[in-house]
């Protein structure tokens, strides 16, 4: 047995009990303490505000072409005196404003896609875990099978047949991503079903519906939210890829992926047209991943004590005689 394990294994055990009563305030405090997660969360919040209020907040009309102000580099000023934080594109449109509006499309595809696949997947997963039997068997087979297929490829093919566009993207994402949710929802349901509170609810004659809605689901929220966050990131990346290949969002609607595809033409003269939207995707996905990692750690009963207790200061001298 390793020394560390023998000596600390006993510790978290006690902390679990203490942690049950953790409040939102404790979470907030823990978030404030974790600088990386905090910055990520703030970034995502700002992004959501920027996307939702793009039409009010954007410094320029994203579609306003100004052929006199083409290819203004980042932090540059156009001849007509307009300042452009991230520069302008080949039509003299303000890149920052376009990114904000693109965020709206990219984010809503990510959110809606994750939401739809989540609803479908969780419903199926919970039912499978709750009723077991043939339903579960079939479902899990379908999940295994679909997970083994290359989803981007399938998405491309379906979009090729039914045509690109926003609504079709959501449809495809629902079709190809529900499995992740179903798999997790099922295993969570199986875990919880054996717990005493479900048995107790059964014993007092709760209906299946009631048990699922009031007992089962609320207890599954945190891991599912983590998964949901991760899926948003995955979908934003998928959307970018599909749009890049010309099978996603179509002009004049614009998403970050489409902006990269367009900027590609000017890669040697106006690098920012490719770099900026790509960086936006990268930062967003990174922030989502970081927040998800944090949320997973903090809602995991085995790990969370680590996050909810203040860390030992660095370089604190080791005093053996203390």
């Amino acid at each position: 047995m390793s020394a560390v394990d023998t000596n600390t294994a006993a510790l978290p055990e006690e902390e679990h009990d203490r942690a049950v009563a953790i409040t939102w305030r404790a979470y907030a405090k823990a978030l404030l303490r974790d600088r990386v997660a905090f910055v990520s969360a703030v970034f995502l919040l700002l992004l959501l505000i920027a996307a939702a209020g793009a039409h009010l907040l954007a410094p320029y009309d994203p579609n306003h072409a100004n052929l006199g102000a083409r290819f203004v580099p980042p932090l540059g000023t156009a001849r007509d005196g307009g300042f452009h934080l991230l520069g302008t594109d080949e039509l003299g449109r303000d890149l920052f404003s376009r990114l904000m509006h693109g965020a709206r499309v990219s984010m809503s595809i990510g959110l809606l896609g994750a939401l739809c696949s989540g609803i479908v997947g969780i419903t199926l997963g919970v039912l499978a875990g709750f009723y077991r039997g043939l339903l579960e068997d079939l479902l899990m087979r379908a999940v295994d099978g679909m997970m083994a297929l290359p989803s981007l490829l399938i998405a491309l093919f379906i979009l090729f047949v039914i045509g690109p566009g926003f609504a079709n993207l959501i449809l495809i994402f629902t079709l190809l991503h529900w499995m992740v949710f179903a798999r997790m929802a099922r295993s969570l349901t199986l875990n919880h079903q054996q717990s005493t509170y479900i048995t107790a609810a059964r014993a007092i004659g709760g209906s299946d519906r009631r048990i699922i809605l009031t007992h089962l689901l609320p207890n599954m929220v945190s891991p599912l939210i983590v998964l949901f966050t991760l899926e948003i990131a995955v979908l934003i990346l998928s959307e970018a890829s599909l749009s890049f290949l010309g099978f996603g969002v179509q002009a004049p609607q614009s998403s970050w992926g489409l902006m990269i595809a367009r900027g590609r033409e000017y890669i040697s003269s106006a690098w920012w047209l490719v770099v900026m939207p790509g960086a936006a995707i990268f930062l967003t996905a990174l922030a989502l991943n970081l927040v998800a990692a944090w949320a997973r750690a903090i809602t995991d009963p085995v790990q969370r004590w680590r996050w909810l207790t203040p860390p030992r200061r660095k370089n604190q001298p080791v005093d053996h005689d203390a």
Binding site: S2, A148, L245, L288
Partner: protein, 323 residues
């Protein structure tokens, strides 16, 4: 071996489902004639094509014919590939069988995906092991950063950035194409980024797990040098999750190659597939998808075979599905 036999049959079933799916999407949701000729084709042209493709037959019969053709390796002919005429005109001539064209492109894709995987795998194992040996050190942080970044970055964008830096700015490597090893560097690096991050993360956590096991302390206690403790004792036991993730990543690589090939004009199956989708070349697209998907299924199967070799303890008949 009953387990492997079962896995084999499962893979066959999956392949069958996939092929049926391609049929359903292509024939029932979509109208092949319309797909191939575009929305503005005339009725006469559409009718002629439907006649030629046997689309006026009952659907079940079409399905049987489709399956029968596939079984013989016949994915249909392309009226786009190598034709300057309008499709309706081209119908008068015979068309090019698509499968050989797809297969012709496979080696390029294999070369790219293989190089990327070997590179990513070797580096990921070293990085992951080092990170597990020195938890919370800079190398551990590096692995964390790489793995987080790799799942957050858009592959094709990374490729473009590499082009900007190494080709456009520094002029060190070609921007794309196929031929020498120089052509391989950037696309392979681009493609390797994601598996590098994912595999190193898994190596790290699997190795952390293994390194805390008693047999490691025992090995150290008997005086086994540290490199051997890590790279022989622990790594061998951590191989199952590592192989699993590597298999998954190889599947991902085959699809990821599609985008990377597009960015770097790498003449693999992916480029062909995207091209044929653009040209509305349904038979070619179908063949491309079936071939790539079949490869993915094959890789998954190969991973399962690898388990039996890697861990003597594994009782294949009792093992459940992989996570």
């Amino acid at each position: 071996m009953p387990y492997l036999l079962r896995r084999f049959l499962q893979s066959l079933t999956l392949l069958f489902v996939l092929v049926s799916f391609v049929f359903v999407v292509g024939r029932i949701i979509g109208d092949p004639a319309l797909i191939m000729l575009g929305t503005s084709a005339t009725e006469t042209a559409l009718d002629q094509l439907r006649e030629n493709l046997g689309l006026n037959e009952p659907i079940w019969r079409q399905y049987l014919v489709f399956l029968g053709d596939l079984a013989q390796g016949d994915f249909g002919v392309s009226f786009r590939y190598g034709f300057s005429m309008m499709p309706s005109d081209a119908l008068r001539s015979e068309g090019t069988p698509v499968l050989p064209i797809v297969l012709e492109r496979l080696p390029a894709t294999f070369l790219l995906a293989g190089t990327a995987l070997v590179f990513a795998f070797a580096l990921a194992v070293v990085l992951g092991c080092l990170a597990a040996m020195y938890p919370r050190s800079w190398i551990d942080n590096l692995v964390n950063v790489i793995s987080l970044a790799s799942v957050s970055v858009v592959q094709f964008w990374l490729g473009l950035i590499l082009i900007i830096v190494f080709s456009v700015q520094l002029g060190l490597l070609p921007t794309g194409g196929y031929g020498s090893w120089q052509h391989l560097v950037l696309p392979a690096l681009t493609l390797a980024a994601r598996p590098l991050g994912r595999i190193s993360q898994v190596v790290r956590s699997a190795m952390l797990d293994e390194l805390s096991r008693p047999y490691i302390a025992a090995a150290r206690a008997k005086g086994v040098p540290e490199w051997r403790v890590v790279f022989v004792h622990a790594l061998k036991n951590a191989s199952i999750p590592i192989v699993t993730i590597t298999g998954d990543e190889l599947s991902q690589l085959l699809t990821g190659a599609m985008l990377v090939e597009t960015v770097f004009a790498w003449p693999g199956v992916g480029l062909l597939l995207i091209d044929s989708l653009g040209r509305r070349d349904l038979p070619m697209a179908q063949a491309g998808i079936c071939v790539v998907a079949a490869l993915v299924i094959l890789v998954n199967l190969a991973v399962d075979f690898a388990y039996t070799v890697l861990n003597p303890r594994i009782q294949m008949d009792n093992r459940g599905g992989r996570a």
